[in-house]
Every structure is written in C-alpha cells, then in structure tokens.
C-alpha cells in the first residue's frame, strides 16, 4: 500500500501487507529498513539477494504483487517504479488504483483465500462490512 497515512501530502511511503492480510511480520521490519536505506541500486540488489538467501525463496515461482495507493500525487510515479521492479523479477503486478489501507488488506486476503474471505473488489468489501454491521445492529 503506497501511503504516508496521516503525514502531509508531500510525503509518501509504503505499508507491506502479509498474504493473509496481516500487517508486516516483525522479522521483516529490519529488511524493510535495509531496503529503504540502500544507498545505491547495487546495494539494493545485494539486500534483495540476502533476503532470497535468508528465506530460501524459489525465484522460479510466479510472484504476484498487489498495489494500491492513497490520493497523494507522488503515488502514481511510485506505482510506476514498482511496476518496473516487479517486471524486472518477472512477477505479476495487480494495480488496484486508489484504495484505503483496510481495503488493500482485504483484497490481499481475498486473493490468497481464492475469494473465500470475500469478493476481491471494492464492492465486495462494502458488502461484507455492511452485512456484518446489519447482523449485529438490526
């Protein structure tokens, strides 16, 4: 999720979502720091290679990345940068456009549960919320 949350509009950032829609696992925080602070593209690649080695990642497996962004103007160019990065590693990018962070989490979980968690669309998100609310309130 490309967002800087409550920060001023000029800022931007990224929130990583786990496959089941959780927040980033704690042991990944150090990797996020190293990636963000890599001073050169060469250093960035070194960090990526270290991650692949640490988790014994199968680089032949088809990777899918879902990206959403908030309304910050810099979001568009960051999505383009992400497109290049994912393409460079032969992954698939699913661009969900402007969404809220909770919607992004929801979509990731839907996709990874083959829609068992819900329909992977914005409408599916609101339907699920509305149904739950009506059951408990009405």
């Amino acid at each position: 999720m490309i967002t800087a949350s409550h920060n001023p509009y000029q800022d931007n950032g990224v929130k990583l979502v786990e496959p089941m829609g959780d927040m980033l696992a704690q042991d990944w925080e150090k990797w996020a720091m190293e990636l963000a602070n890599a001073p050169t593209p060469h250093d960035l690649v070194e960090v990526l290679e270290a991650i692949v080695k640490e988790y014994s990642i199968d680089m032949t497996a088809q990777a899918k990345v879902l990206v959403a962004r908030d309304t910050r103007p810099s979001g568009l160019s960051l999505v383009e940068a992400l497109k290049s990065g994912v393409a460079a590693l032969q992954g698939d990018l699913l661009d969900e456009g402007i969404k809220t962070t909770p919607q992004c989490h929801y979509l990731v979980r839907c996709l990874n549960t083959r829609s068992e968690y819900g329909v992977p669309t914005e409408e599916g998100y609101f339907d699920k919320l509305a149904k739950a609310y009506k059951r408990i309130i009405v």
Partner: protein, 145 residues
C-alpha cells in the same frame, strides 16, 4: 463512506460527509483527520460540531479513526481507540447477556496494544471481558477464539 452508507441503506445508517475533496492534494490531512483531532483535541478547521452530533475523523489512508462530540456544556470530548474499543466491548457484552448466553457458551475477548490506557484495561476487565495483552498477532490467530 459514500459507498458504505449506500451499502448499509438509509434505514441503517446515515452520515454527512465533510472534507471530501480528494482532487485537491494539498488538503490531505491539512488541519483535519484523526491525527489532527487527537493531537489538538479539537474538531477539523472550518467545521462546527452540530449540537448532539456524533462525529468521526479518519486519517489519510482511512486506517485510523477517532470519534468526538460536544457535551451539554459545549466542551469538546474525544473518544480515542481505547474508548472506542471499550464501548464496542460493552455493546457486545450487552448482546451476549440479552441472548442469555453464559461463559460456558461464549467468551468475549478484547485486544489492546501495549500503549493502551491502564484505566481502560481495568474498566474492561471489570465488565467481564477477558483482555489479552497487546500483539496484533493474537487477534488474527485462530488460537484466540
């Protein structure tokens, strides 16, 4: 919110929306939003809280919310995460009691983070809700329920 209120239908929930201009980037979080309201303990700039209204503010990516209102003496009252969670827990406990369920039938858990206000934790425990210490993981794990 527009989509959500449509999905809920007018008989379930209505809301008046302010600060909805997402076409003007500079307005994002500018003197408004959950963080602003919580930090300055006041309503968004340019907004006047109607008498008896229940208000809410979200942050820029809509994953934070605070509620607020003005009491009978026009004093600004903020309901932050701890208070929202406590109110929700109390509501669920009321439903459980109305359904005539006992502790053998169902157990209600509430997750608070390590930053939660100690008084809110004490209050929650006194209303028969079992509290687990911090960690989002607990909430999302199947082991909780």
């Amino acid at each position: 919110m527009e989509h959500l209120t449509k999905a809920l239908g007018p008989n379930t929930f209505t809301a008046s929306l302010i600060n909805t201009d997402i076409q003007t980037p500079e307005k994002l979080n500018s003197d408004c939003g959950a963080d602003y309201v919580k930090m300055y303990q006041k309503e968004p700039r340019g907004f006047s809280i109607p008498a008896g209204a229940r208000c809410a503010s979200l942050d820029g990516d809509a994953d934070r919310i605070v509620f607020y209102y003005q009491d009978a003496k026009s004093v600004f009252k903020l309901l932050d995460g701890d208070k929202i969670a406590t109110l929700a827990a109390g509501f669920i406990m009321r439903l459980v009691k109305e359904a005539g369920l006992s502790e053998k039938d169902i157990q209600v858990g509430l997750v608070q983070t390590a930053y939660a206000n100690g008084s809110s934790t004490s209050y929650v425990k006194d209303t028969l809700v079992r509290c687990f210490p911090s960690k989002i993981d607990l909430f999302q794990s199947d082991k909780l329920f």
